[in-house]
Amino acid sequence: MTERWARTKEVFTLALEYEPAARRAFLLEISGVDDALRTEVESLLRSHDRADSFLETAAAAPWHPLLDVNMIGRLVGDYRVLREAGRGGSSIVYLAERADQQFHKRVAIKMLRFVGESAEILQRFRNERQTLAELDHPNIVTLLDGGTTDEDLPYLVMDFVEGVPIDHYCDAHLLRISDRLQIFRTVCDSVEYAHGNGVIHRDLKPSNILVTEDGVPQLLDFGIAKLHDPGRFALTTMVTLIGMRAMTPEYASPEQVRGQPVSVATDIYSLGVLLYVLLCGHHPYRTKDCSLLDVERIVCEEEPVRPSIAAMRNEDQRPRESDEPPPLTAQSVASARAQRPAALSRELRGDLDAIAMKALSKEPHRRYLSAGQFSDDIGRYLSGRPVTARRSRVVYRSGKFIARHRESLAVALIILTAAGGVVGWQLQRSRAATPATDRTIANVPLTVRPSVAVLGFWNLSQREDTAWLATAFSEMLTTEMAAGGRLRLLPGDTVARAKIELALPDVANLSAVNLKNVRRNLGSDYVISGSYLDLGAAAGGQIRLDLHLQDAASGETLTSVSEQGSEQQLFDIVARAGARLRERLGVSEVLAAETTGVQVSMASNIEAAKLYSEGLAKLRGFDALAARDLLSRAALAEPTFSLTHAALAKAWLALGYNGNARQEATKAMDMGAKLSRENHLLVEAQYYEASQDWGQSIEAYRTLSNFFPDNPEYGLALTNAQIKAGQAKDAMVTLQKLHRLSRDADLDPRIDLALAYAASLASDNALQASTAASAARKARLTGAKLLVAAARSLQCRALANVGDAAGSASACEEARTIYEAAGDWSGAANTLHNMAELPIAQGDLQLAQRLYEQALVMAQRTGDRRGITREFVGLSAVFHAQGEYDKAERLMRDNLGNCREIVYTLCVAGQESNLANVLLEQTRLSEALALYRDSLAVAKGIGSTHIEALDLTGIAEALVDQGDLSGAVRQYDQALSLQQQIGQRSYYALTLVSLGRARAQQGDTAAARTLYAQALSMQRQLGEKGSLAQTQIAEAELMCDTGQATEAANLARSALHEFQIEKMNSDEIRAQAVLARSLLRQGQISAAREAINSALPLAEHGSALDRLRLQLDEARMRLAERDIPGAERTARQALAAAEKQGFVSLKLDASLALGEIEAAGSDVADTRADMRRLQESARAKGFGLIARKAAALAARPIAASATGA
């Protein structure tokens, strides 16, 4: 410890003993203190005063209970304690009255329960006194006095509020909703007042809001309130206090529960909970008997049920403790509000629901911004005006669309489609024959139709060759049941997905458990299942079909039907069976030409029917390859059957053959004359999707969803199309509507999932993570495992982006497990691919490589060519990062060919760019430049701004190397503006540095410095240590040339350390080189040599560029070591290599080095001339820095020092 510091401490400690006002004087008086010390101490004192509870941790201390101090009857201040009125966690409240009995005033005296080393508790107590003293409001309890007792126990004296908690008050008085709202508004207004005075309550709950007999609410217990004036307590946000979770779980906001800093929004949240309770009697969450961990999860992740719905619930009638209130029922809740249950629910539905839910938003910024706003919105409701809560329910950031997501989303959504059956093949017979060009839909159901799911048929004969009948019967029956449009049939794809998820057997009749699962998963009202049996040749080759129609809710079998016929009479069998079922359901529309309707659902040729059915089954089982084969054969067998082509189109799409998909979709459309309007539209929509004509597909789906609003499949398909088209905003709107119209919107995970996709479009990681989490949760509840996987996969990506490594990993792991179990290799591949992102960021390249390789294996299994190319992009990038340049180049070129072949444009652009990076590092400048330019053109074509910007920087770097500095600067500027546009702060900072280097080369040191400083500041903010170190190296290089060798060396060392930690090979080499340079400037030759030597082995595994640069440094090193011939040899080698590659900038530098070497020799005149020539040519090319150095060399007298310019 230094003398000075010791003295500083001494003076500081002494000064602390004085009151703040007197300290100044003391410091001036004290002897032996110079001005500098005084200033230092004053600065520390100021900091001390502000840092009141900075770093204070507490409550490791055991509580020392107050020993036997009986307060009853004692005098506290002017008051005499009468009795105990209540006790809280850390304090007791007594009822007292004025000792002199002058006014018979009753007061409450609040005292700490315990005394101990609990700075925090004392602080809070002091806070309370302070905050209450500043508040003066009719609805906030008034502080009268405060002080400490003889035992030094602090106390507060307040008005004694005689009242009941607000929730009890409202119930006891049977207050109607409107009256409750009025009282609530009063509470809001008082909270608003407190906020206005900089006080956040932090513990708003009914027991802190008492209502007097006159109906006046009073806010109490600002005991844990904190001033939210940032100047005073900002420092406390750094630390969270252990064990001091002084809040009531039911009323705590997500941020409180997580220990994050609180704000005004926190009180809003608590008010929201209160409103919720007042409205419907229930708590938004059930947290009784839950551990703190569970509470945290529930509060932070669970979505509360809307008050209008909660009001109708009955709590279960389990036996209760004596002090617990009786269980709530819809009746009891409604009675307390002087209403009938149905009427209450109606009253709450809509605006009040929205208001409460807005206040309960998980994200603080989505809640009301102030208690006043909250109160106002309620006021609007009360006066019948539209409330703000119902406008944009979903808030999201700017819908800045990043084009490159389209492709990856398209694939992801195909997975979703195959798995989730977002678009199904719902067959429907039209009422009247209408020409193909007529686009109107005949039947427009106005009400929500009953829904039916045809679950499947058990093959009783167990013969392989009749297995296809199961699919065939399902498809046909679905069409048949849908005839007339009175029933909503769930598409075959959807049912198939559900069967996989629920592992449903194809049994004749479903057990109660399975039924319940089906209902939860599919949400259908009725299910049909059955069996079929080939009666054999003896019976004339007849097939018998047995069906059961069950009510999904009750499990009751409504009817059983049996029909039989020959293989040629399949249509008839199904038609008859279906008619009987429809009759049972009361929707029979018996028309003469019924059989023609069913016939559109299946090929008429038995062979084709069989192949089609088998192909369909494979497609639904994620086996696109097998599906393609079967369906191709089916198409050959019966080319005029439209649906084969439609299914085949899907298969091609899954395999990444867009062209083929489009062809098949066209055929499906052309041959779809007999299809109903609805199906024609569906086929059309798919054609547009295959052609990537999003605009048209959106139109098609929009029409469908407008006509069939009760069918969420269409709404979701529309959303998907909008997402693919990059219309994040529109997608959100559609989802909102869907949410409102869909019966089970709260339970349907697909809406949240679509939201998550839209969020990823807008790069809103927080929204993506939260909606994905919500989707996963809902999907779990309905047993939709594949949707869970899709949701977790999205969550994984979002969490990786916000740095939650462990959360991301576990999400991806779960997704992968599910996909693998279901045989969805495409999904599994996608997930593995996502998992690789994090290890790359952490420098664990081996892990990333393994993951990509695994993903590749999966992708190869699916035969998905796009997926395969994607994995190769990732893998080759890893090879590059590992320094395996040749391997990377080979793979990249290969892959580029693949991408071109399958016309995967995004891949082409990206791969070209990556390849160009490799070539640039191998100093193959012109090749790299050509690739960058091509990639740029492609990227522009598909609107991928991100790739565009990267290509621009690549071009710029190449131009610098080729000696076109001004051209390079222009490109950098363009790149910067693009990166700013799409908000890529990280890359923006990197480009700043590159531009800075170029400016430095031009000789504009000031500009370079400014740019570096800007970049550093951004990188510090972003916490990017690696990039920051890179910038420091650039700075160090600059400092070497501006006479700041020592600082340069320090910077280089510190950056070096960072590179070693993060295993950034190339940068380490550069750092050593700069270090060596700066050491040379300081004359430390051997230390410099050490640095160069450390770099040499690294360069062996580095790029050609690394080696070339190092060569020059080696040459200069040798010069310093007086090995002139060695130096010259090395420099000439470097020059030659640079010359060969057209590496102008390096060539100039090499020439300069040669000049330095020559100057150490004896050929002075030659040197001067050479240097002048160099100066000229450097200046001509804009290389101001080199020109300057050359000029200096030319002007120097003989025998230049070995340490260089």
Partner: protein, 177 residues
């Protein structure tokens, strides 16, 4: 130098404490959202409970444990924070990956890392103060406990603590922020 009031701890014991702390940290940190600070003292106390329950090591007293745990906890948190923020490979390796969203970008500064660095600076100036802060912040020791672990008087701890706080606050937040 102040003497410790308890005998030195065997290496294995330290290693097992470290392992336990890491496990717990990983568990809690998994549930963290970005920008959220962990409650290090809660973690340390929980580790103590678990380890005594499992009878992994006989601790002379809790303070001894807390004294060991503090620097370990610090290391874990700093490593974690650092790891979180090492987002980019940097410079020349601007790979385009086709299925990912933007490369991770962290919008908040690393509080723990900043504190750690400030503590390193403080240690150069005043090792005792740095140790006091480390014990109090990462293990939640109060004045008396800290005094016990280090082996100095409580009043000394209090005095040094005040100064250290002022110094660190200034270091981290600027002289007049």
């Amino acid at each position: 130098m102040p003497k410790t009031s308890v005998p030195p701890i065997p290496e294995e014991a330290v290693a097992s404490v470290y392992a336990e702390l890491r496990r717990l940290a990983a568990f809690y940190l998994r549930r963290e959202r970005s920008g959220h600070t962990l409650q290090p003292t809660a973690l340390v106390h929980e580790a103590f409970l678990r380890m005594t329950q499992q009878r992994e090591v006989e601790w002379k007293n809790k303070n001894q444990f807390l004294g060991i745990a503090a620097p370990l906890m610090r290391r874990i948190l700093v490593d974690y924070s650092r790891g979180r923020h090492a987002a980019k490979r940097g410079g020349n390796v601007k790979h385009i990956d086709l299925d990912q969203a933007e490369l991770p970008v962290f919008e908040r500064s690393a509080n723990i890392v900043a504190l750690d660095e400030a503590l390193v600076a403080l240690a150069a100036l005043d090792p005792l103060q740095a140790r006091i802060v480390e014990l109090r912040f990462f293990s939640g020791l109060n004045i008396d406990q800290t005094a016990d672990v280090i082996g100095i008087s409580a009043s000394t701890v209090k005095r040094e603590w005040n100064i250290a706080k002022a110094w660190l606050a200034r270091e981290l937040h600027g002289p007049d922020s």
